[in-house]
Amino acid sequence: MEPSDFRSDLTISGTVSATGGVYNDVKVRGEGRVDGDVDCRTFTCMGRCEFFGSLTAAAARITGDAIVSGNMRAAKAKVLGNLDIHGNADLQEVLIRGALTVDGSLSGDELEIKGMLKAKGDCQAEAFLASGGFTVGGLLNAGTIDVRLYGECKAQEIGGDLIHVRRGFGSGFGAMFKSLFFSSGGSLTAGTIEGDDIYLEYTKASVVRGNNVTIGPGCDIGLVEYKEAFQQDKGTRVTDSRKV
């Protein structure tokens, strides 16, 4: 990226149409439409903005609604509102408190989901930390996958080093209080789950493969294949298990 001195800001307040290009800070307060690819240092969206093209930003913060018709790249992204990406997304460090929808695949370094993530393709990251809901249409591939189940979570396939899935409500007063507002504690559905160290609760999967596999409460697993160790909770269903 060139020095910011050569870049100008783009501020959208009211209803504005703008063209793409290289900008310093892009701020949207009203309702905007941008035609063409945009490359900017920061992108802040408090209103509603639609990009017809791709969006590249060093840092993005979306409290309103943003739609990107192409691909999006960002080193840092905070989604407090809604962000829809129709292409692929490469977002290195992401915090989702609102909803992020990606029609293609999503790749990044650290994904933290406290809201909702929908990716139609694959999703890959070094760390995938979820305490919200997610749907991944393809493979969810991450070094560390740490899921606290609060809502419905789904992935066609899951693979990684460490895969831990636990129900969100812990114990004590806070958990009782929360369970008054949420009808079910959430669950995970996946086709296959493969990793080195796997701990699962309230998960439905056809096959689970790993070195150390522990199946906690509320699971329904078709087949477990393990290399070193396998443990199973009493109130859980594992149709078949074998050491390989």
């Binding site: 990684g160 080093d161 086709g191 296959t192 990793g195 160290d197 096959v207 790993g210 390989v244």
Partner: protein
């Protein structure tokens, strides 16, 4: 073309790597996406790999991962060109290409002090085919022209170089890979070179 495939389970058993490692290497693009072949079997969907390619690749990763970081390794395996440029003397001294191949280049494109990666690659392929004895010096010139004019258009994506002869007339083609090409009967494919493999070999030589 029926490939010899290996299932994921067999691969892990044979190489002793874990699921975690396999997924990590996939994330780091040490193993290309195209090698993950999904097939349905009686146990549901399973993943298979082209046997020879994956076994060779995993062997290399296991041998090199102590000396290089995963990112450096990924760079080695990627079909994208690196931004290495070398002088003529150095190319000869490090035995990357021979003087004869270089002379063919300078005769056609003039004398340049520094060779960018794309040009090194072109001369390297020329060298390979000359050594194999499948092309003449004149055909070598056509080869260089083809590579230098068209290779950049693939923008780092995989491609194959095909050399065909028909009744003594020769032609070079660059096609994106993987792709199938069929020729009429009287045309013969003399050589098909995977540029990705050549780039990988060249990157090892340059490093």
């Amino acid at each position: 073309m029926e490939q010899d495939l290996i299932s994921k389970k067999e691969l892990l058993e044979l190489t002793g790597i874990s699921y975690g490692q396999l997924y990590r290497w996939k994330r780091k693009k040490l193993i290309p996406e195209e090698w993950f072949i999904r097939k349905s079997t009686f146990t549901g969907q399973e993943t298979f790999f082209p046997r020879e390619l994956i076994l060779a690749r995993i062997d290399k990763i296991k041998n090199m991962k102590d000396d290089l970081s995963l990112d450096e390794l990924a760079d080695m395996f990627s079909p994208a060109p690196t931004d290495v440029s070398l002088g003529k003397q150095e190319l000869l001294k490090r035995n990357i290409v021979s003087k004869m191949a270089l002379d063919v280049f300078t005769e056609q494109f003039g004398d340049t002090p520094v060779f960018p990666f794309a040009h090194i690659l072109a001369v390297f392929i020329l060298e390979k085919l000359l050594q194999k004895g499948v092309i003449s010096l004149d055909e070598g010139k056509t080869l260089l022209g083809t590579l230098i004019q068209h290779y950049g258009k693939f923008e780092g994506k995989n491609c194959d170089l095909i050399f065909v002869r028909k009744m003594g007339v020769s032609a070079f083609l660059l096609v994106s890979s993987p792709s199938d090409v069929y020729f009429e009967e009287s045309a013969k494919i003399v050589e098909r070179v995977s540029i990705a493999d050549v780039i990988e070999a060249l990157k090892w030589k340059l490093s």
